[in-house]
Amino acid sequence: MSSRSSPYVLRALFVAVVAIVQLAFVAHAYRDPHHHFGYQPFSESATWQARIERVTADGRRFSIQSGWAGRYRWNELVRGRGLDWPFSMGHASSGIDGTLAYFQQALDWVARNTPEDRETLYLDADVIYYQNRRGPYRAHLRSVDRELP
């Protein structure tokens, strides 16, 4: 390989890498519920709704819709992508698989980041959703267990 052609080889390599990376994102988007960097907008028509309860160590259940532990409100702890108010039927802007994946992660995050709540063992959610004229479907999600004092 001549020294004159090596910059062109590098250029070709760079362009090839760009193409391969973009193609990889597009291919991965078929398995990724969020389709990150894969350009699959409006992939489905889905709506969802969830009832979220906090469950104490002794089995008592309380809805969190109006807040809990004196200061926590779901829509302040979880913002955006339609996750902030799951209590009424709404559009699943991330697609239902993506929305439920985020919702599970949100339950876990809230469970881990509400230190003033000293009695909730875990968060429990019942989800109803519709997908492309099919449904209703149900899903049950549960957060990680919290360490209680």
Partner: protein, 362 residues
């Protein structure tokens, strides 16, 4: 544009004027993209105070103050990028923060933001401050203007990223039986009919949109449009038609959906497909005629992409004579329409007027 036979695109040199215009537009669109983040900052809300999911756990989470400083800094660099000040640095910094901001939180990802990142990446690869910039003006004042012909090979990477949304979106819908069959959009339309009614969409259109047969056909056309745009942009003979269809596609998406900056970015990004050569067509205009004077004024004002070398003459045989890149000469009304179709603001309405095909030169 010079493209030696050996190496092709890898060795080609040419004008990036169209990309300089794209840079200016994307700088403004980046500010629009940052607006909701700046609003959150103004309200004192820091993204890491609420649920967030980093793309990469290893990516350091900036503290509130640092994040707000970087966000504000990015707004500044985007503005400077738009006007072309310290262009390569401000473009690179803008790209870096926009990417970083999305990587900080998966909830920040939207398809239009992914496309913005791709375009910004492409703009960092090229000297898009050579023209239509404060940098270029300042260099000219100091008598140190840089050459307008540059290496074009990064444009190939940019075009790959530029066609990806159309091909990826179109192909994903092509292989989805529910999308291809119109089920997805029929359901969306049915669910949000009330919004269309509130927006004043006529009842006749709403009734049409409620017809299953409409959805069975229409969305197939949309998918085919996306795929045609993604492929057609690469074919010189089909490129203008692809750009025309892309503009129609994006206008329709903007009218019917909430897609943040995607539609504006999509239309602006068609600039990357402009032939990267400047003033390689000649317009000879007889300024003793009204037609010649009108076209001369329009071209002077609107030839932002420097498509034409304009020569004003008097007493010519034809008010308008156009000498194309390949040396062919055209005269008369068709030549005038062809010239106007190469001006960015007039391209969209003028392109269909060329469908009759090129007349033979006299």
């Amino acid at each position: 544009m010079t493209a030696p036979a050996e190496g092709g695109w890898l060795t080609a040199r040419g004008s990036v004027r169209a990309l300089c215009l794209l840079r200016a537009i994307v700088g403004v669109l980046t500010l629009v993209h940052l607006a909701p983040f700046l609003e959150e900052m103004a309200a004192g809300r820091y993204y890491a105070d609420s649920f967030h999911v980093p793309f990469l756990e290893l990516l350091p989470t900036p503290g509130r103050g640092l994040y707000f400083a970087m966000l504000s800094g990015c707004a500044l660099t985007a503005a400077l990028m738009a006007v072309g000040a310290l262009t390569r640095v401000t473009t690179a910094l803008t790209f870096a923060f926009v990417l970083y901001n999305v990587l900080l939180n998966q909830l920040h990802h939207h398809h239009n933001r992914a496309f913005l990142i791709a375009i910004l990446f492409g703009l960092t690869l090229l000297p898009v401050g050579r023209e239509l910039s404060v940098d270029a003006w300042w260099r000219r004042r100091r008598g140190r203007a840089l050459p307008l012909e540059v290496d074009l090979w990064p444009l190939l990477a940019m075009r790959i990223l530029g066609c990806a949304p159309y091909l990826a979106s179109g192909s994903s819908k092509l292989v989805d039986p529910e999308w291809w069959g119109g089920v997805v959009m029929a359901d969306r339309v049915a669910r949000y009919r009330h919004r269309a009614e509130a927006a004043g969409v006529p009842e006749a259109i709403l009734d049409l949109l409620a017809e299953p047969s409409f959805h069975a056909v229409f969305w197939k056309l949309i998918v085919c449009t996306e795929l045609f745009v993604g492929v057609g942009l690469w074919i010189p003979r089909a490129r203008y038609a692809a750009i025309f269809m892309a503009v129609i596609f994006h206008v329709n998406v903007e009218l019917t959906s909430s897609v943040q900056i995607f539609s504006y970015l999509g239309v602006a990004a068609t600039l990357m497909w402009v032939t990267p050569s400047a003033r390689d067509r000649r317009l000879v205009l007889d300024v003793d005629t009204a037609r010649g004077r009108r076209l001369a004024a329009r071209v002077r004002r609107l030839d932002w992409l420097a498509r034409f070398e304009v020569e004003e003459v008097r007493g010519a045989a034809d008010p308008v004579t156009l000498i194309d890149r390949d040396g062919r000469r055209y005269v008369g009304p068709w030549a005038a329409r062809y010239a106007m179709s190469r001006l960015p603001l007039l391209a969209f309405p003028m392109l269909p007027t060329l469908l009759r095909g090129r007349p033979r030169a006299p």
